[in-house]
């Protein structure tokens, strides 16, 4: 099996095996964003997950409202997604083909989809999933369409994941510096880290370690930048000690360097403000520009009844 990144447009049909929810949102959103950038129609099959994925797109500064209005971005509702999993396989295959035809008919140069379109397939999941996936492969072949099949570790048993990985030629990977299912840290580029999730007492030492290691790297490099950036666009919770740690880290930076916190959500901003961030000379805090940037405590979603067999 070959591995690639989510932006690789040469692949029509790939899988990803996210190890955490944050990775799932990251990969789903990146795949959709890349399709929007390419002018394709992008379709997300929801199963109670769309809010988190759309939220991640907003975090990533990808316009969502416009594309949702004019059909460039389609969210297939949870009930429809689940119903699609209960229809016979040959109908599923023609359903995928019709999806592509509709997109081309509407003038799009191509279409791509991802989402939770198979997470409810049980109990002979390995077998059913394989047939389902084969039907999708037949629909995609030779057409301007691509699909990213997600088999994340919270929704699929390990043995099913292994079977499904074996059926895909290409696996999309998204490496992280750290991921404990609560907090995910990725390197966007040298000296710029992206934090997604929540920082609390359980993983705060990681934050200290990563900031210290990045500063160390910057001090050793000859032409490294004077500003280390932590992109907090997807950080939904920061506890008081975590905020104090960031403020202290910046205060102890050498005069030559600064710590920049970008994309800061309002709730995280309030914690930082209460912990002395406005007084730290070498700390820059920039709020997230997004108008709709849901905070940590999303209202409890109304979970539709599980009708899947």
């Amino acid at each position: 099996m070959r591995t690639t990144t989510v932006e690789d447009r040469s692949v029509a049909h790939a899988c990803a095996v996210p190890g955490s929810e944050e990775e799932l949102w990251e990969v789903s959103a990146a795949f959709l964003a890349d399709g929007l950038a390419a002018g394709e129609q992008v379709v997300y099959f929801d199963d109670g997950t769309a809010d988190a994925v759309l939220g991640r797109l907003v975090d990533d500064r990808v316009p969502v409202d416009g594309p949702l209005r004019d059909g460039r971005l389609r969210v297939v509702e949870t009930e429809v997604t689940r119903a699609a999993m209960r229809i016979p396989l040959h109908e599923a295959a023609s359903g995928f083909a019709a999806l592509i035809d509709d997109a081309l008919g509407a003038g799009f140069p191509g279409i791509r989809w991802t989402g939770q379109y198979s997470s409810r397939l049980r109990p002979h999941a390995g077998l059913w999933l394989a047939d389902y996936d084969a039907a999708m492969e037949r629909a995609l072949v030779g057409r301007p369409a691509r699909a990213l099949c997600l088999y994340d570790r919270t929704r699929y048993p390990d043995d099913v994941i292994e079977v499904m990985r074996g059926l895909h030629d290409v696996q999309v990977e998204s490496p992280a510096l750290y991921d404990d299912s609560l907090l995910r840290v990725t390197r966007v580029r040298p000296f710029r880290l992206r934090l997604a999730g929540e920082v609390d007492h359980s993983n705060r030492p990681v934050l200290n370690r990563l900031v210290a290691a990045t500063l160390d790297e910057a001090l050793r490099g000859h032409d490294s930048p004077a500003v280390l950036e932590l992109d907090l666009s997807s950080l939904r919770f920061l506890d008081v000690a975590g905020a104090v740690a960031l403020v202290h880290a910046a205060e102890e930076f050498p005069q030559s360097h600064r710590l920049a916190l970008s994309g800061v959500r309002p709730g995280v901003q309030r914690v930082l403000d209460r912990c002395g961030a406005p007084f730290a000379a070498q700390l820059d805090v920039t709020p997230h520009p997004g108008s709709r940037c849901p905070g940590f405590p999303l209202p409890p979603p109304a979970d539709p009844p599980d009708g899947a067999a």
Binding site: E198, V240, A241, G267, R270, R274, G276, P278, P297
Partner: protein
């Protein structure tokens, strides 16, 4: 809600004294010169006294200030305890917020507090807790606080406690050192902080450890939404309870859990965090934290965000009740 980010170091600027009075008239006789002296210095006055006393003081000071030009500002009326629980530490934190606002713009403030038997509870320990907590919460505030207690209150605890919680003693109109004063934390460890009124069984109980704080946050978020909080308020309350829960897993031992009562009763969200440990500091989070100290800030911020944050200890361990209105 306004939240402070005080960055000052821990210098004690509070002057906190007690006077023992023989009658209601004596309260006015003792308080009036203090108020007049503050007026003469151009210092604002804050009161937590009974309505009769406030009226008498207003008449007395108006008569005294006959020749001056502009009439003095009316006294600031300090908050009264709110809600079903009597918590001296919560009231002290509240007064600290109110008085810091005054001293920031005006330099100093003179405060007169009169004992009110209605707040005694079962034994009068409320007052001991309040005065001990004021020593901590107001330590860096430039306030002169004089508390007037009856010589013969209904509960003996009131005078016993007051005699030991005030660094200064009002004698013949002058504040002098009180030999019986004791360090507030030490005193409270010995005498205990009163437990709040017992609640019925909680709507939810969530046991947790260091790696399950996210479950605590989700439980609180759900309850806060249900209580009708808006998004910012939910986030603030989640932060407050997270800090209390973090403290419990950091210092506590044994069974650590969160009890949640949904907002049904009195429209307020109530949470309690219980652990099997004992805190060295019976009243954590009352002093504005020093900027160089990474610890102690969490509970201080939590106190700013909640309508009640009451910490008490008994044989079972340490308990924290939080009450928050939407």
């Amino acid at each position: 809600m306004r939240v402070e980010t005080t960055r000052s170091a821990g210098v004690v600027r509070l002057r906190h004294g007690v006077g023992f009075t023989a009658s209601a008239a004596d309260v006015v006789d003792r308080a009036a010169p203090l108020v007049a002296a503050a007026r003469a210095r151009g210092e604002p006055v804050a009161l937590s006294v009974r309505a009769d006393t406030a009226r008498a003081l207003a008449e007395r000071t108006a008569a005294g200030a006959g020749t001056a030009g502009a009439p003095p500002d009316p006294p600031i009326v300090l908050a009264r305890p709110e809600g079903p629980d009597r918590s001296g530490q919560t009231l002290a934190a509240r007064w600290a917020r109110e008085l810091r606002t005054v001293t920031r713009s005006r330099g100093g403030v003179t405060v007169v507090v009169e004992h009110d038997g209605e707040l005694d509870g079962t034994d009068g320990a409320f007052w001991t807790e309040l005065d001990a907590a004021l020593n901590l919460a107001l330590s860096e505030v430039a306030a002169t606080v004089v508390c007037l207690y009856p010589q013969l209150p209904l509960h003996r605890e009131v005078v016993d406690g007051a005699g030991q919680t005030h660094p200064l003693l009002l004698v013949d109109g002058v504040l002098q050192a009180n030999r019986r004063y004791r360090e507030p934390r030490e005193l409270l460890v010995e005498r205990g902080v009163p437990a709040p009124a017992v609640l019925g069984p909680p709507d939810r109980r969530i046991g947790f450890d260091t790696w399950q704080l996210a479950a605590v946050r989700h439980g609180v978020a759900d309850a806060a939404w249900a209580a009708g909080c808006d998004g910012d308020r939910v986030e603030d309350l989640v932060l407050a309870v997270n800090e209390v829960a973090t403290n419990a897993v950091e210092h506590g031992s044994g069974d650590v859990h969160l009890d949640v009562w949904d907002g049904g009763r009195a429209g307020a969200l109530v949470c309690e965090v219980h652990d099997g440990g004992r805190l060295a500091d019976p009243l954590p989070g009352l002093r504005a934290p020093h900027p160089a100290d990474p610890r102690g800030r969490g509970l201080w911020i939590a106190r700013q965000l909640c309508d009640l944050l009451h910490v008490w200890t008994d044989a079972a361990g340490t308990h924290v009740r939080i009450r928050a209105l939407p």
